[in-house]
């Protein structure tokens, strides 16, 4: 019984972390799938959003939920400008140029945040409602983790419906599967990409804010967790909302469990597993049909 409770709480913690990973990474997966653009600066947008959310709460006393909305809107607007002015020039460039460009953006983001805000970690103070424990019947668990899981489920259902049931979702899926064909059907792929890019960055901002409580928030954030976001996308498959969701949960639970039971070799195991998974299914574990 004790073991069962232990396992349950471990899975809950891992799922909560996985939800944050999903919220951050989903935009990256869709934009990479749409345009094949290797966007290493995605973590920088998550960081930007995180800073907007945490700083607006700490300095202006904005409440948590309005702060999340603010982070989403501002980051989406900023990424819209970036996409139109800079990213759009590099769609037809080589992967190498895209990698360099986005690494450059990451460096600039880290340096700017260090200059403007400072190198120290920013503490997210949760509203009283989300602090403490909640009784789940079989065990007590942290309210915030349960909140994260609830938010994550709402977002994944919302995204899934948007992807599968709306016109723009169908256009995105069509572009991921066959971009040329979609373009020749008269769908404006560039406009589609701008919208998805801004939306995906906004989601990353949400993830940055929601995860700040346990991932921390300092200027190195943009680089520190990038490998995790990329692993989730690579394992989940490009342009697949559900694939990224499963991959994020998998990595979240694994990371949580490994850190608890093998505190030293855990990371080694994650990297090793990623290599094996990518060799076995280069298109991603949950890619479904081959494209």
């Amino acid at each position: 019984m004790i073991l069962g409770v232990d396992v349950a709480s471990m899975i809950l913690g891992g799922v909560a972390a996985g939800m944050v990973l999903f919220i951050v990474s989903v935009g990256l997966s869709v934009t990479m799938g749409l345009m094949g653009f290797v966007n290493l600066a995605h973590g920088a947008f998550a960081m930007l959003g995180g800073y907007i959310i945490v700083l607006s709460m700490n300095y202006w006393g904005v409440h948590f939920l309005p702060a999340l909305a603010l982070g989403f809107v501002v980051t989406a607007a900023v990424s819209f400008a970036f996409e139109r002015l800079l990213y759009a020039r590099l769609y037809r460039a080589t992967e190498l140029d895209q990698v360099l460009f986005t690494i450059g953006l990451v460096f600039m983001a880290i340096a700017s945040v260090t200059l403007v805000v400072g190198p120290e970690n920013q503490q997210l103070v949760l509203p009283a409602m989300l602090q403490g424990q909640v009784d789940l019947g079989f065990t007590q668990y942290r309210t915030y983790s349960i909140f994260l899981i609830a938010i994550g489920i709402i977002i994944v259902v919302g995204l899934w419906l948007g992807f599968e049931r709306t016109r723009i979702g169908a256009q995105i899926r069509a572009t991921v599967d066959n971009r040329r064909m979609t373009e020749s059907l008269g769908i404006n792929v560039d406009r589609l990409f701008t919208i998805t890019f801004a939306f995906g960055s906004g989601m990353a901002a949400l993830g940055g804010g929601l995860g700040a409580e346990f991932l921390g928030l300092d200027p190195q954030y943009a680089l520190k967790y990038l490998v995790y976001f990329l692993i989730v996308v690579a394992v989940g498959g490009l342009g697949r909302v559900t694939g990224v969701f499963y991959a994020a949960l998998l990595i979240g639970v694994l990371d949580f469990a490994l850190k608890k039971y093998i505190p030293k070799g855990g990371t080694l195991f994650i990297f090793g597993l990623t290599i094996l998974l990518l060799l076995w299914r280069p298109q991603g574990l949950f890619a479904g049909r081959a494209t």
Partner: protein
């Protein structure tokens, strides 16, 4: 034969192609500079040694990235493999003779390159990028964990490196021996790479970079070529890592880090990849900037570096040498009316 009847002088392009491996007049210049540096700046030889190691490392990356077109974010894996080979053998008192240690470093790095290349090079694009990154992270984590052998996070310090050839002492304060030793190794490696890229093998690498499908169609063993190139490049990167460990007499986790892989990539891109002197120009420009600016304004340096990368990616895709070539073409076009 008809081919023989065509005079080579009538085909300037063919003539240029046939003679492109010949040494140019200016080619001794970098080496003269390097020797002049030794006499002119005896107080900066430590910096000079680091610079030469970076050039060698960039040269190895150029072979993979610039010539074979394999985009990797994990080239420090081989640098670190070489550095740790030298470091661990010396620290645990197994073997520390400099030149043979360097060869062992090359062999170990080549084995890592061959092993990872055999599995990694079946993929491409984002998957390949991720796999190279993960392989390097895996090695870094392994080095961090095996602290009984590798020293873990602190690394292995004060490696007992005996005099070179039993004659020339490695003095950490006046790294004269280190500088000349690294320069000689760099020169040998450079000659090797230069020969390699102008050989039919090098030519087939360029073909794979430009059009893989067509190289398959003409019957070129694409995968074998890529793996060979990856292994050779890994060996050279391992030598660079081994030299680094010997020159500094220590080895630590930074040799395997993403920072080092990104640094050499940036240096190579800055100079211009796919050009044999790209690594030279890029490493000099990068290291000089980093050495003098990073100490004064570390944050400003990072901001500037980011801006530089963005500008290169958007406007100057061939780096400093690319800009130089474009200028030269413009001048020549002006002076040679059609």
């Amino acid at each position: 034969m008809i081919v023989a009847a065509i005079k080579p002088t009538e085909h300037l392009a063919a003539l240029a192609f046939a003679g492109r491996h010949r040494p140019r007049v200016w080619e001794p210049a970098p080496w003269i500079f390097a020797i002049a540096f030794y006499f002119a700046f005896p107080n900066y030889l430590g910096f000079g040694t680091e610079l030469l190691v970076t050039i060698l490392f960039a040269l190895s990356l150029d072979l993979v990235l610039g010539y074979a077109g394999i985009i990797t974010l994990g080239h420090a894996a081989f640098f670190g493999a070489g550095a740790y080979t030298v470091g661990m053998l010396a620290y645990h008192g197994i073997w520390n003779e400099p030149i043979s240690s360097l060869m062992l470093a090359a062999i170990v790095a080549a084995l890592v390159g061959l092993g990872s290349g055999l599995v990694l090079l079946r993929t491409q694009g984002l998957t390949l990028l991720m796999l190279t990154l993960c392989t390097m992270a895996l090695l870094e984590e392994a080095a961090n964990l095996g602290h009984e052998y590798t020293g873990g996070f602190d690394g292995l310090a004060s490696l007992p490196i005996p005099p070179l050839l039993g004659l020339f002492e490695f003095n950490p304060l006046y790294p004269r021996t280190q500088y000349l030793y690294v320069l000689i190794v760099l020169f040998i490696a450079f000659l090797f790479v230069r020969t390699l890229i102008y050989s039919p093998f090098g030519q087939s690498l360029a073909g794979i970079r430009e059009n893989t499908l067509r190289m398959h169609a003409v019957g070129s063993p694409v995968r074998a070529r890529l793996i060979t190139c990856y292994t050779i490049s890994a060996a050279i990167a391992g030598i660079a890592g081994g030299l680094w460990a010997q020159a500094n007499a220590y080895v630590n986790l930074t040799t395997l880090s993403l920072d080092r892989a990104a640094m050499v990539l940036i240096a190579l891109i800055l100079g211009g990849y796919g050009r044999i002197y790209g690594g030279f120009v890029g490493a000099v420009a990068y290291m000089a900037l980093a050495h003098f600016l990073a100490k004064l304004y570390p944050t400003g340096w990072q901001l500037g570096l980011g801006l530089l990368l963005v500008v290169i990616a958007l406007f100057a895709r061939n780096g400093i040498l690319g800009i130089g070539e474009a200028l030269l073409r413009r001048i020549r076009a002006k002076h040679m009316p059609q």
